[in-house]
């Protein structure tokens, strides 16, 4: 747009197509996988555009959108003021007019600043009007990075409650890419949570097919097991896999189910796993009280009652702000050892 101030495009090496940023062996980090998905969708469909704080010249606080401004221009990569309600409103209004906005929140924490427009407008408009709102809201969520309460939130329950917004929270690069592409192509609002602990930590081979999609609403068994089912998502998938590996060495077989999608939850995959193991540990980074763990736990308790050989157990942070100090954050968030302990208790039931 004419009035957008065009700034310097950034340092050398920045600005390249995200796929060019894969490792030499072709592996992509979670962050690059997300950027690739966005890039490809912007290439594919010119109705797709992005808005958010510092996503243009700066490339976003975590550099997910680095290079996008140069490629797609300031009409499709829009730096906004610090006005989250209005960012959401802009996304909604432009979606009503046929565009397909992808709005970045600098941290998922600041989704609370756009709460009303998300929960009230985005979540409730289609049910009352029949007007589709193909809006993606994305942002980095989660803890384990020593960033304290205002940069560690998992906001799923805020926006899961009341309905109307799909929520995805991938744990692996390939899932991240496939789910982002599905989110952009979905005609419903999608909240896409990127776990900042995973961003640069996890990499893998990621498909290059421009139509590679991971369907929204499908969980995935990331490790097969027979004794206990661990139902989890996000960073805790990786911690659960590590725990499962350690447990295997002690003769305990844990199955790890990665929800991938939080709304709607794939009950079938979850319940199939419980039918197999008869024991459920729900490991969630969302706070315990009315967190995602509560929903999954209550659902299992209700629908898998006859299979259960032990109480559905929740492992979640306490219901209070995430603290900064390493001693506190470690005690506060579920750790690999906590998962192992809980699984062992359950399997001994």
């Amino acid at each position: 747009m004419a009035t957008t101030v065009k700034l310097d495009a950034g340092a050398a090496g920045h600005g390249a197509e995200p796929r060019g940023k894969r490792d030499d062996d072709g592996q992509a980090t979670y962050l690059i996988a997300i950027a690739e998905a966005l890039w490809e969708e912007m290439e594919r469909d010119e109705r797709v555009y992005m808005l958010g704080e510092d996503i243009g010249a700066y490339g976003g606080a975590f550099k997910v959108t680095e290079g996008f401004l140069d490629r797609f221009g300031s009409g499709r990569v829009i730096d906004t003021p610090i006005a989250e309600e209005t960012i959401v409103g802009m996304a909604v209004g432009s979606a009503m007019e046929g565009l397909r906005p992808v709005a970045e929140f600098q941290y998922a924490d600041f989704m609370s600043s756009g709460f009303d427009s998300i929960a009230t407008v985005l979540g409730r408009y289609h049910y009352r009007s029949g007007v589709p709102l193909p809006v993606v809201l994305r942002g980095p969520s989660g803890g384990y990075v020593r960033a304290s309460s205002f940069h560690s939130v998992n906001p799923e329950p805020w926006f899961a409650y009341g309905g109307g917004i799909k929520i995805v929270a991938p744990a692996f690069p390939a899932d991240a890419k496939g789910l982002m592409k599905s989110a952009v192509r979905d005609d419903n609002p999608v909240l896409y949570l990127e776990h900042k602990w995973i961003y640069r930590r996890i990499k893998e081979t990621v498909p290059t097919d421009p139509d590679f999609l991971v369907p929204i609403g499908e969980a995935a068994v990331k490790r097969e097991g027979t004794d206990v089912s661990i139902i989890t998502s996000g960073a805790l998938v990786h911690k659960s896999l590590e725990a499962a590996e350690n447990l295997a060495q002690r003769g305990v077989s844990a199955e790890v189910v990665d929800l991938r999608t939080i709304v709607p939850i794939d009950e079938e995959t979850v319940l199939n796993s419980i039918a197999k193991t008869s024991r459920a540990l729900v490991v969630s980074e969302s706070y315990r009280f009315v967190g995602i763990g509560a929903e999954v736990g209550a659902t299992i308790a209700e629908k898998a009652f006859e299979h259960l050989d032990a109480p559905v157990t929740r492992l979640s942070p306490p219901n209070m702000p995430v603290p900064f100090s390493p001693t506190l954050e470690d005690a506060f968030l579920p750790q690999v050892a906590d998962i192992e302990r809980a699984v062992e208790e359950l399997s001994a039931w």
Binding site: T3, G75, G93, S94, M96, E97, D116, H126, R128, N188
Partner: protein, 356 residues
């Protein structure tokens, strides 16, 4: 940028006697004004008799604002109204019959019975946003529609309305600020009816007019007399053309008074009687246009009588239509949340009966 604040709220002189629209349009305008006034009065009566469920938010006395600003819009321009602005939606083209079906919670209402009263909209047909309560939550959405017009190079304009009280909310500031930064094609209308529920202007903002806030955004601000529908229309037309030309937003404050309570249940004891009498006597947008058109010879007394007959018939038709429309089927309560269930692209069930 210049701020054009017109401080007068004196009785309308009907745009100085000039006729800014062809005569047939002026007559149509009078029809809409009369229809909306009559609708408002009759619905309140039905509400008082316990024959209308839900809530009503009377727009009586403010029709000049609603009709004036909406008249200046084209069909492809979009309207983002509030609970108080049903008259604007009717002006934009909503079907009275379906509006009434909405009030009675019927399947033929614009929200298929999912919402009631003026929480209505018809995006697909008449480009009006389905009203939400939270104030002024449609303001940021209007920024988005205007952004789309700009990005797509379409010559459309978004126009959003809110009340005086809504200007104290943060969303109001955010939306205007953002639209002004990007010079988006949007017109911001404040229907200053001098009260937010029971709260007077003096407890909502600390300056004499809302229009002068335009300087905070570097956009023009205009204050018009909501009792003069033609003055409102002309201000809106200028603002809309300005927006369409790529010159960015305008803030229009249209001053009137809320003649009735906030909603049907509110007797408005807090309303100073003198003020009310003054506005009813001197700022009645319906009578003002009628008098003007009579004086100008555009209509005769007989024409006006015929108009009223038509209006009454339209209302009766709407009423019959509404009560004959079935309630939604209970099983449909959980449909239509997600696009893919197809509820909104297929005909809804009509077996819900007409008795609740």
């Amino acid at each position: 940028m210049a701020t054009e604040v017109d401080p007068t709220t004196a009785p309308a002189e009907m745009s100085g006697g000039s006729r800014p629209l062809p005569d047939d349009e002026l007559v149509r305008m009078l029809h809409v004004l009369k229809l909306c006034r009559y609708f408002d009065e009759r619905m309140e009566a039905l509400y008082r008799q316990g024959r209308l469920p839900g809530a009503i938010y009377s727009g009586r006395g403010q029709e000049g604002t609603h009709v004036g600003v909406t008249w200046a819009l084209r069909a492809d321009d979009s309207l983002f109204p509030t609970h108080r602005d049903l008259t604007a939606q009717l002006t934009k083209g909503l079907d009275l019959k379906r509006v009434m079906a909405q009030f009675w919670g019927r399947i033929d209402g614009y929200t298929r019975g999912r919402d009631g009263n003026s929480h209505i909209g018809d995006w697909q047909g008449n480009k009006t946003f389905t009203v939400m309560s939270h104030l002024p939550i449609a303001y940021p959405v209007a920024v988005g529609a205007a952004l789309a017009y700009k990005l797509k190079g379409e010559p459309n304009v978004a126009l959003a309305i809110c009340g005086d009280g809504s200007t104290s909310n943060g969303r109001w500031h955010e939306a205007i600020n953002t639209s002004a930064i990007h010079r988006l094609p949007v017109v911001w209308v404040v229907n200053n009816n001098q009260f937010a529920y029971s709260t007077p202007n003096a407890l909502e903002f600390p300056i004499p007019t809302i229009a002068e806030r335009s300087v905070a955004y570097g956009i023009p601000g205009v204050r018009v007399d909501g009792g003069d529908v033609l003055e409102v229309f002309e201000a809106a037309r200028a603002a809309i053309e300005r927006a369409r030309a790529g010159d960015g937003p305008t803030l229009i404050e249209s001053v009137s008074l809320r003649w009735r309570g906030h909603a049907g249940h509110d007797p408005a004891k807090y309303m100073p009687d003198e003020l009310l009498q003054d506005y009813m006597a001197n700022h009645d947008p319906v009578r003002n246009l009628e008098d003007f058109l009579l004086a100008e010879g555009v209509v005769t007394e007989n024409d006006v009588d015929a108009l009223m007959e038509r209006v009454e018939a339209e209302f009766e038709q709407g009423y019959e239509y509404a009560l004959a429309s079935p309630f939604p089927e209970p099983a449909d309560a959980t449909k239509g949340l997600w696009v893919e269930d197809g509820y909104w692209t297929s005909e809804p069930g009509r077996a819900g009966g007409t008795e609740a």
